[in-house]
C-alpha cells in the first residue's frame, strides 16, 4: 500500500517520479510531501535571467534608440534593425525563462512545492501576450509568486497585485482616477480590468454577490498604483503643470502616485475604506483575502487540482475550513491538501495537462529525451506554451480541455519522438516502473512488455492511461 501511496505522492502531488524517487517516498509518503512545505521552498535563484528592473532598464535604453526620430537620430532602416533586435532578444529571453523553469521542475527533489507554485502562478496568471509582457512574465513569477506560496494568502495576493507584471497585464498601470487633473488633461481614465479580475478570478469568484459598483469602487481605490518610468513621470507631471523626474528614476519600481489616485473614500462590499489613498487598495485586499467566498473558491480549485475535475464536497469543505481557521495560511492549507483522503484514491482522475505531461516525462527520462529541441516549441505543439495562458483565468484544469482527438494525436506524435530519444540500456518495463511504480496497471505492464521494439514500448508507456493521468 505504501508503495502505491509513494507513487501517488510523486505523480499526483509531485510533478512525476524521477528514477528512484518512488522508493525515497515509500517509507512515509505523506511525510515526504510535508517535508517540502517550508518558507522559500519554491524560490529559485534566477541566475542568468533578468529581474523586473533590468527588463525595464533595457526597454528604456531600447526606446531611446528606437523611439520617435529626431534630428541626428538613426534613420528608418537602422531603427527597424533595432526593433528587430529587440524582438529577437525578447523571444530569446522568453526561451531562456522557459528552459530555466523546465530545468528546475525536471530536477527539483521538492516537486510538490513546485506543483504548489505552479498552481498559484496559474491562479494569478499573467501572460506574454505582447512585447511589453514578454519580458515580465518570468520575473513576475520569481519575484511575486515563488517567495510567497507558503506564506499567507493575503501576502501572496498583495505581492501578485502590486507587481509590475500584474499591474501592466491587467492595465492598472494606466488606470487613472477619473476626477484627477491628469485624467482630464490627458483624456485618460479609469480601467476596471484589474479590479474585476481580482474579484472574479483571484478572490471571491464570479456569482459570489459583488456588484458592478463594487468593481468601480475597487478600481478607483487601485488608481495611483503604477510603475516608475518615463511614461508615468510624464503622466503625473500633467497634473502638476511641471515635471516629476523622480518618477522616472529606477524604472520598474511599483509606486503610488498620489496625483493619479481618485480622491475620496471607497465603499466595497458595503464596507467604507477611507483614510489615506495609498492604503485603500491594501485595505480592500485584506478584506477579500479572508472572505468566506475566497475560501470557497480556493478550496474548490485546490480540490479540483488534487482530487478530481468535479471534486467531492467533502474535500472542498475540509480545505475551506482549513483556509478559514488558519486565516489563509498557505502552509497550513498545503498540509490539509496532503491529508485529504480523497486525494489518495488509487483511481487516477486527473488528466495531465501538456505541461504536466512534458515535465513528468522530463523527470522520468531526462529533459533531452522529453523535449529534444527548442522547448517552447514542444510545449506549443501540445498547445500549452508556458507563460502564455489564453486568458487571465489561466490554464484549464480539467480533462475535457486537454483530451480532444487532435490533442491525443499530438501527444502520440510527441511520445513517438521521445521514444526514439530514450537512452539505450533502460528497458521500457524498467522505465514504466521508475515512472509509475504501482500506479501502472497489469494491462499497461503487459502491453509494454509485449511491445515489438523498445521504441514501441516507450511509446506505449508514455501514452498509457496511467502516464497520461496523475
Amino acid at each position: 500500500m505504501s508503495r502505491l501511496a509513494a507513487a501517488i505522492a510523486t505523480s499526483r502531488f509531485g510533478l512525476g517520479a524521477r528514477p528512484g524517487e518512488i522508493s525515497d517516498a515509500a517509507g512515509d509518503p505523506r511525510g515526504w510531501l510535508e517535508a517540502q512545505i517550508r518558507p522559500g521552498a519554491a524560490v529559485v535563484s534566477g541566475e542568468g535571467l533578468l529581474s523586473t528592473q533590468e527588463v525595464f532598464a533595457a526597454r528604456i535604453a531600447d526606446a531611446s534608440m528606437a523611439g520617435p526620430r529626431e534630428a541626428g537620430e538613426p534613420d528608418e532602416e537602422a531603427r527597424r534593425a533595432i526593433q528587430q533586435r529587440i524582438q529577437r532578444e525578447a523571444r530569446e529571453g522568453l526561451q531562456k525563462e522557459v528552459e530555466a523553469r523546465t530545468r528546475h521542475a525536471a530536477s527539483t527533489p521538492a516537486s510538490f512545492a513546485e506543483r504548489w507554485l505552479r498552481f498559484w502562478a496559474n491562479h494569478f496568471t499573467v501572460a506574454a501576450r505582447n512585447a511589453q509582457m514578454i519580458g515580465l512574465v518570468g520575473p513576475y513569477e520569481r519575484e511575486a509568486i515563488r517567495p510567497h506560496v507558503f506564506g499567507r494568502f493575503s501576502g501572496l495576493l498583495g505581492n501578485a497585485v502590486f507587481h509590475p507584471g500584474m499591474l501592466v497585464f491587467l492595465d492598472a498601470a494606466r488606470s487613472i482616477g477619473p476626477s484627477t487633473i491628469p485624467a482630464q488633461r490627458r483624456d485618460a481614465g479609469l480601467n476596471e480590468n484589474l479590479a474585476r479580475e481580482i474579484l472574479e478570478l483571484h478572490t471571491l469568484g464570479v456569482g459570489s454577490g459583488y456588484t458592478q459598483e463594487d468593481i468601480v469602487e475597487f478600481a478607483k481605490a487601485l488608481t495611483g498604483w503604477t510603475v516608475s518610468g518615463p511614461q508615468t513621470a510624464r503622466l503625473a507631471a500633467a497634473g502638476r503643470g511641471g515635471r516629476a523626474p523622480e518618477l522616472a528614476n529606477e524604472p520598474g519600481r511599483v509606486l503610488f502616485v498620489a496625483p493619479l489616485h481618485e480622491p475620496g473614500a471607497r465603499t466595497v462590499l458595503g464596507k467604507v475604506h477611507g483614510g489615506e489613498g495609498k492604503l485603500q487598495a491594501a485595505s480592500i485586499l485584506d478584506v477579500l483575502a479572508v472572505h468566506p467566498a475566497t475560501a470557497r473558491l480556493i478550496a474548490t480549485k485546490l480540490a479540483r487540482h488534487f482530487v478530481a475535475d468535479v471534486p467531492p464536497e467533502s474535500a472542498i469543505a475540509k480545505l475551506e475550513a482549513s483556509f478559514l481557521s488558519s486565516g489563509g495560511d498557505l502552509a497550513v492549507l498545503a498540509r490539509a491538501v496532503i491529508h485529504l483522503d480523497e486525494a489518495w484514491q488509487p483511481e487516477q482522475q486527473k488528466f495531465k495537462t501538456p505541461e504536466e505531461l512534458l515535465v513528468s516525462a522530463a523527470r522520468a527520462a531526462g529533459a533531452q529525451a522529453a523535449f529534444g529541441g527548442a522547448q517552447r516549441q514542444v510545449y506549443a505543439s501540445l498547445a500549452q506554451a508556458p507563460f502564455s495562458a489564453p486568458s487571465p483565468a489561466g490554464w484549464a484544469d480539467d480533462t475535457a480541455a486537454w483530451s480532444g482527438a487532435d490533442a491525443v494525436k499530438k501527444r502520440l506524435e510527441w511520445a513517438n519522438a521521445v521514444s526514439r530519444r530514450m537512452v539505450r540500456g533502460l528497458s521500457p518495463t524498467d522505465f514504466l516502473d521508475q515512472a509509475l511504480g504501482e500506479m501502472a496497471g497489469q494491462r499497461t505492464r503487459q502491453a509494454v512488455a509485449r511491445a515489438e521494439s523498445a521504441e514501441q514500448g516507450f511509446t506505449l508507456a508514455l501514452m498509457s492511461p496511467e502516464f497520461q493521468r496523475r
Binding site: 482527438a405 491525443v408 506524435e413 528497458s427 509485449r450 521494439s453 523498445a454 506505449l460 498509457s464 492511461p465
Partner: protein, 387 residues
C-alpha cells in the same frame, strides 16, 4: 542512374543527419572494391515458417495448417516461398537469393528489446553501448561509410564515431499502425483516450495520410518500399557508402497474421525490387541480408497468429550472393525436435552469417571478428561461400 546525393534528399524534404567524425574521409579506399552490404532488420520477429514454409515436413500442417500459404511458390529442398514474394522467388531461380531457414543469435529468451539489442550489439547476454557494425567499421582496412534508413540511428551502428548518415521517410516519426492498434487495445477501458484516439485515427484516414484498409502508413509496411528504395539511392551515389542498415517495423503478428503478413511480405518483396532498380549495375556487387531478432512459435495460437519464438529465417539476396540454395540444416518440426517444445530449433548462429559477409563481401578478414567485433564467438565460425 539517378544522380542523388544527400543534399538533394534534404531538398525533397527528408530528414538526414550526418554523424561523420572523419573529416575529409573518402569512402571506399579499403578492400570493398565497390561491393555493398545491406542489413535489413525486420523488427518485431518475422514468422519465418510463414515466409518460407517447409511444405514437405510431415508435421507442419499439424502445427499450423491455417498459416501455410496454399499458393506458396516451390523453390527447392521441400521449401516454398510465400506467394506475396514472387520477386524473391525469381531471384532464387536466378541464383541471386538464398535462405537460412533456421537461424538465431545466441540469445534464448523471448523479449523483443533484449533480442534486438543483442542482435545489433553482437553480444551474448549483456547489451553493450556500441553495435557490431560500428566496431567492424572501426577495425576495417580502410575508410567505410554507412547509412541507416529509419527514424533513429540503430544500435548496430552506434558507438565510436564512424562515418554514418541516417535518413528516414518524411512522414516519420508518426506512430505505426501496429502501435495505434496496441494503444486502442490498451485504451479498452479508458473511454476518454479511446474516443479521442479513435477519432484522431478516423480524421487521419479522411485526410488521406493513412490507407482506408487499415494498413500502411505510419512506419508500417507502406514505408518498406520508400525505405529500401532510399537505401538503394544512397548506395548508388558516386562516393556513396558501402553499407546500409534498414529497419522495417511491424512484424509482431500475434493475431490475424495471414492478412498482416500478406501485406508485409509484398512490401518487402517490392522494396527489395525497388532497391535493385536503384542500384542498377551495383546490384551485381551487392549482398542483402534480412533478419529478425528471433522467430515465432511453430504452432498457431488462439488468435490466428503466433507468439515469440526462437529459430527464424534470414533472407539473403543480391547479385553478389551465391543463391539458389538453402543454407544450414533443417531441424525438423517434430514436437520432440522443437526448442522447448514450441519453437523452431536454431541450426545456424546469426553471427556466423554476419561474419561471413563482413569477411567475404567487404573483405574484412580480421582476427577481430571472433573477439573484438563479436566477443567470445570463436565457436560461431564465419560461414564461407555466401558470396
Amino acid at each position: 542512374m539517378t544522380m542523388l546525393n544527400r543534399r538533394s534528399l534534404l531538398l525533397t524534404g527528408c530528414a538526414a543527419t550526418l554523424v561523420s567524425v572523419a573529416p575529409g574521409a573518402r569512402a571506399d579506399t579499403g578492400g570493398a572494391q565497390g561491393r555493398k552490404l545491406v542489413i535489413i532488420i525486420l523488427r518485431g520477429a518475422m514468422d519465418g515458417l510463414a515466409a518460407l514454409p517447409k511444405i514437405d515436413d510431415a508435421d507442419i500442417r499439424g502445427h499450423r495448417a491455417a498459416l501455410v500459404d496454399p499458393g506458396a511458390i516451390k523453390l527447392s529442398d521441400g521449401f516454398a516461398l510465400h506467394s506475396a514474394m514472387p520477386g524473391l522467388a525469381a531471384m532464387y531461380s536466378a541464383n541471386e537469393a538464398a535462405f537460412v531457414p533456421a537461424i538465431a543469435g545466441p540469445y534464448r529468451e523471448r523479449s523483443h528489446f533484449a533480442a534486438q539489442d543483442l542482435l545489433e550489439c553482437g553480444e551474448i547476454s549483456q547489451v553493450s553501448a556500441d553495435g557490431w557494425l560500428n566496431r567492424a567499421m572501426l577495425k576495417a582496412p580502410g575508410v567505410y561509410a554507412a547509412v541507416s534508413i529509419g527514424p533513429s540511428q540503430p544500435l548496430i551502428l552506434r558507438g565510436a564515431p564512424v562515418s554514418a548518415t541516417s535518413w528516414s521517410p518524411p512522414v516519420l516519426p508518426e506512430a505505426s499502425e501496429d502501435t495505434l492498434q496496441r494503444l486502442l487495445d490498451l485504451y479498452e477501458h479508458d473511454m476518454v483516450l479511446k474516443t479521442s484516439l479513435s477519432a484522431a485515427v478516423g480524421a487521419d484516414m479522411i485526410a488521406g495520410s493513412m490507407k482506408a484498409d487499415g494498413m500502411g502508413g505510419r512506419g508500417g509496411p507502406a514505408q518498406y518500399v520508400p525505405q529500401l528504395e532510399a537505401a538503394g539511392k544512397f548506395l548508388a551515389q558516386p562516393q556513396g557508402p558501402q553499407i546500409a542498415v534498414v529497419s522495417l517495423e511491424g512484424w509482431d503478428t500475434h493475431i490475424g497474421q495471414n492478412q498482416a503478413l500478406q501485406q508485409r511480405f509484398a512490401a518487402l518483396d517490392n522494396g527489395i525490387a525497388a532497391m535493385k532498380t536503384q542500384l542498377g549495375d551495383i546490384w551485381k556487387k551487392t549482398a542483402v541480408m534480412a533478419i529478425s531478432e528471433f522467430g515465432r512459435t511453430v504452432r498457431i495460437n488462439g488468435g490466428g497468429g503466433t507468439d515469440h519464438g526462437t529459430g527464424g529465417l534470414a533472407i539473403l539476396a543480391g547479385g553478389a550472393i551465391k543463391g539458389g540454395r538453402m543454407l544450414g540444416d533443417w531441424p525438423g518440426l517434430k514436437s520432440s525436435a522443437l526448442f522447448e517444445d514450441r519453437d523452431l530449433r536454431p541450426a545456424v548462429d546469426a553471427r556466423s552469417v554476419f561474419k561471413g559477409l563482413l569477411r567475404d563481401q567487404l573483405g574484412w578478414a580480421s582476427a577481430d571478428l571472433d573477439t573484438a567485433i563479436f566477443r567470445d564467438s570463436v565457436a560461431a565460425k564465419a560461414m564461407g561461400g555466401l558470396v
